[in-house]
Every structure is written in structure tokens, then in C-alpha cells.
Assembly symmetry: D2
Homo-oligomer: 169 residues x 4
């Protein structure tokens, strides 16, 4: 019923020692904020809401990721500028830089997820399924309610297979 | 582990044809806002948050109740004044008037729930158990998250008995 | 060019030892906030703006007055209720209770000033002339700008007469 | 009593066909907002307040200028980035880029005015005198009041001299 969320196409990551994947976050709810550092709505309510999600939920239940999906002013919203932005706005969660496209201004993750713009809040459930893609302002009460319900859903019993065998964790 | 929430002591009700009881709301999450009409914090964020809960959650999952717990200025925060207040502030959910005490300024429900003041948000789960009693300002994100998780909890299978028999619904 | 502001019709006053008159405030800018204690817009921005005017300007330049102009729910917005409201909302400036009309719900000052409702901000210059009557929300920047300009206007040289003589102060 | 405000050291200007000088703005009140595009307090209240000043006062009375005084993250807060910022935040008033110093991170105007940081609101009266240098958040009511009073002050009678003669305008 709900499609599995496709992997992020990240050119680089900030605030994390290693690149992250949705696959390895399976079992947690994942909240992804697609933003641009020069997008007024992202700065005034998207980023504060992302921080509020981070402050409200336990890291073992909910992962919060930023996704810097630049589709305009590419030259000035580069990695160095983003680093200064992340520092000044005290953003502590991992931020992926959406992979630029060789064919046009829309970066790859933004294109695959068919985002309409920034800010967009993407919610993925414990089973890795896409449950929300909301463009524009969302009320804190509604976002809290939705994530709260996703947190309460059971994590999948996953068959985990290695070269030797498969087991239910 | 969680105690059953005691019944409200309501002298009267507004915005409902019949008095309500927690017993009859069993199976739903119940959010109760204890307030006073002349309490600035109640007016600036308690009442708006109660309305936001009402707008966010489905009535079949969450009941929202006001509880007018007057512990000061009793003479002027009477039923007629409360009716004008409820009208002007466009409060659509049922409001109980906390039963005045014959012994002092603290009304009976406020005393039994040991509330510290107004506004206080009380949350009761689908099984009728007291899960939160929060005095003062609460963030929308946190309130949404908590109610969202309570909504996701299973309703109790209740033995319902009438004169003839008992059955599991 | 600007008409002299008519005197207030005050049934009673709060927060002042003696009744006040515009006549005796001549020489100061006078900011009057017409409000009702059960008017949501008055509580959320009118009263805070009145307090901000009081905090911004010097008392020797600007007088701030409340005017409780009740035109609905008369029975519950009485003097005792207003006293509780003034106490809970920490209103420190003088408040006049607009004189009820023997003929209808609109009190006398509200009628003479032809106010459209509450909140209304009335500004009177140092010469006692009516310079603004603004119904509804006004931006702080604009209100500050306007009062600042009125403050900068010269006070009138008044002929002050007593039983003995008249003199220019 | 009040010192004449020193001229701005502008490397470049945005939103104006020609460079501006305080000298040529003499006769108007001048409000200058020193900011950095990656300064959270500048974005959340400094820039909105500057726009509110612009919207409140007449251009013939008050000039509003931005001053991009970069003292950190110099590499990424360059002219191209500022242009994107000015576009996205719909800034319509002229913006001067504070002249970088050959000796350190503090640009020249910031140093001469001894600014403590950004945002700083500088107010200059009709006679070109420095009347306010306020670092950090300022209330709209207070800023409106102060500019309103400066607007009400008389413009100077200036001796204007050309090659032929001097005259009082």
C-alpha cells in the first residue's frame, strides 16, 4: 500500500562521520527536511521545526536528516556556504547534499521524490515506507501527531540474511 | 502501572446536551484542559492549543474537554460570564464547570487531581488511565507527539455486561 | 483642521485616585485604548500594545488610558469582573468605564466618538485635538511612529486663567 | 552635542543605480541596518524590521539602507551570494557592501562606527548627526517612536555653495 522510499542521492554529508542510508535506518522513523539555505520559509519555520522534532523524539525512535536540495542559485549555495549556514544556525543533525543532476537544475533526490520545492517534510516509517511528503508550512501539532503515530507502529521483524543463514531479529 | 483517572466533578456543562463522563468516553483518548477565563496563560496558549488538538485529531479517536476550574475571583467567573467567554473565543468542545468546594476556594476536580494551577493539560488513554498532568505551557510538537502515541495504542477489549449477559466487544 | 476631542463619559475609574479629564491632560499626547475584557483581539494585541506604549514613552509626554466600552454581554463585564481582569493582566494605567446609555447597548463615549468596535486606538495631540481613531489591529512600528511625531509637536502656549488673571505659561 | 556620522565605506552597492552618500541624503532621517546574510538574528528580526521601517515612513522623510558588514565566513558571503539573498528575501532598499579591511576581518565602516556585531541599527538625523547605534534586537514600538521623533525635527537650513555662490535653501 505504501511504497518503499527510494534511497537518497547524496553527493556529500555534513554532521556525520560516514554517509547514511535509509536501509541502515530501517527500524526507525525517518524525518527528512528538504531545504535550501537561501529559502526564507525553510529558515523561518522548516529548520526550527526540524530541530523541534529532534528535541521531541528519542534518537532510537526517530532519525532527523536534512537534505540540501539546491534548484536555484547553485553557484552560491555550495558546500562551504552550507557549512557556514549549518554552523550559524546550530544544526546538529546530519545533512545530505542532494546530488546535482548532469541534465538540469533539479538535483537527483528531489527529482526522484518529485518534490515541488522547499521546504518539504518527508516521513518514512519503521518499515522504510514513504508516508508523507509535505511541501510548505506544516503545523507543529500535526507533525508531532503524525510522527507520534509512526513511532507507535511496530518495527518490522526483518529476516536478516548473511552468507550462512537467515534469521528473524 | 498507570492509575485510572478519577471522574470529573462537574457542577454543570456547556456545549453538550447531556453531562459527559470519562466512563462513557472509555475507548478514546481524552484531552482535558483545566482553565480559568481570566487566566492570561490559558487565553494566550492553553485555549488555542486545545482548539488545535480538536482540529488535528479525529473525534472518534480523541475527545477534547474544557474544565473551568475556578480557584480565584469566584464571583465574576460565573456561568453567565463563562458562556460569554465560550461564545467570544469560539470554543466548540464541551466544557465542564468544576464543582465548587464547600470548604475552600479549590474546586473538587482540581483538588482530586491535585492540579497546581491553570492551564493544566490532562491526558487520559483509551483504557481510562491518567497519562499526563502538565501545568503551564507545553510545546505543540510534544503534545501532538504524545497524543499521537496514545491514539496508536490499542483500545481495550471491554467486557460489556447488561442484564442478560456479558460480551467482549 | 483637527477637531478637539470630546471629553470621555466615564461612569467610574480604576487605577487612579481621582477621575481624569482630557482637559487636565492638555499638553500631553493621550493614547486611549477602547476595549472590552471579553474581546479576543483586545486581549491578544490591544492590551499588549497599550502596555508597550506605556513602556516606550515618558509619562510626562504621553498619557495612556484604557476605556472599557461594553456594548455586549453587559451583565458579566461589570466593574467587579473588570477589576479582576485588570489585576490578572497587570494593567497599570488608568481605565475609565464608559458610561452606559439609557437608550441602548452602546455606551456614551463610544457613541460620541462613533467607534466601530473594540479594540480602537484613539490618539489626541498636545493641543487636545483628535488625530487618530483606528479600529482593529495596528502595527507597533506605525503606532510608535505616529505617537513619536505627536510627541515632537510643540505643546500649546495656553492661556491659563484663574480667578485673578490669565497668563501664558 | 551629537557627532556628525562618518561616511560609509562601500566597496559596492546593490539596488541602486549609483553609489549613495550620507552627504547627499542630508535633510532626511537615515536608518542603516548593518547585517550579515548568515546571521540568524539579522534574518529573523533585523531585515523584517528594516522592511517595516521602509513601509511605515515616507521616502521623502526617511532613507533606509542595508550595510552588509561581513566579519566572518568572508569567502561565502560574497557579492553573488548577497545578490541571491537580496532577491530571495525581497529586499528593495539599497544595500552597501562594507569595504573589507586589508588588515583584518572587520570591514572599514564597521570599524569606524565601532559596531559590536550584527544586526545593528544606526539612525542619523536630518542634520547628518549620529543619534543611535543599537546592537541586537530592538522593539518595533521603540524604533518607530524614535524615528517618528527624528522625522518631526526640522531639516537644516543648509548653505549650499557652488562655484558661483552660496545660498540658503
Amino acid at each position: 500500500m505504501f511504497p518503499i522510499a527510494p534511497e537518497l542521492h547524496a553527493a556529500e554529508w555534513l554532521n556525520t562521520a560516514k554517509p547514511l542510508s535509509l536501509q541502515q535506518l530501517r527500524g526507525k522513523v525517518v524525518a527528512i527536511y528538504a531545504f535550501q539555505m537561501l529559502c526564507p520559509g525553510c529558515v523561518s519555520h522548516g529548520i526550527p521545526q526540524a530541530k523541534s522534532i529532534r528535541a521531541t523524539f528519542d534518537e532510537k525512535d526517530v532519525a532527523v536528516l536534512g537534505l540540501h536540495s539546491v534548484f536555484e542559485h547553485h553557484a552560491v549555495m555550495n558546500r562551504a556556504a552550507l557549512e557556514a549556514f549549518v554552523h550559524e544556525y546550530r544544526i546538529g543533525f546530519p545533512v545530505a547534499i542532494d546530488q546535482p543532476s548532469p541534465h538540469g537544475p533539479i538535483p537527483l533526490t528531489m527529482e526522484e521524490y518529485q518534490l515541488r520545492g522547499t521546504p518539504t517534510l518527508i516521513l518514512i516509517d519503521r518499515q522504510g515506507r514513504l508516508r508523507l511528503s509535505h511541501f510548505g508550512r506544516a503545523e507543529d501539532m500535526q507533525v508531532g501527531a503524525l510522527i507520534g503515530q509512526l513511532v507507535a507502529e511496530a518495527a518490522p521483524q526483518q529476516a536478516q540474511c548473511d552468507d550462512e543463514a537467515c534469521s528473524i531479529r
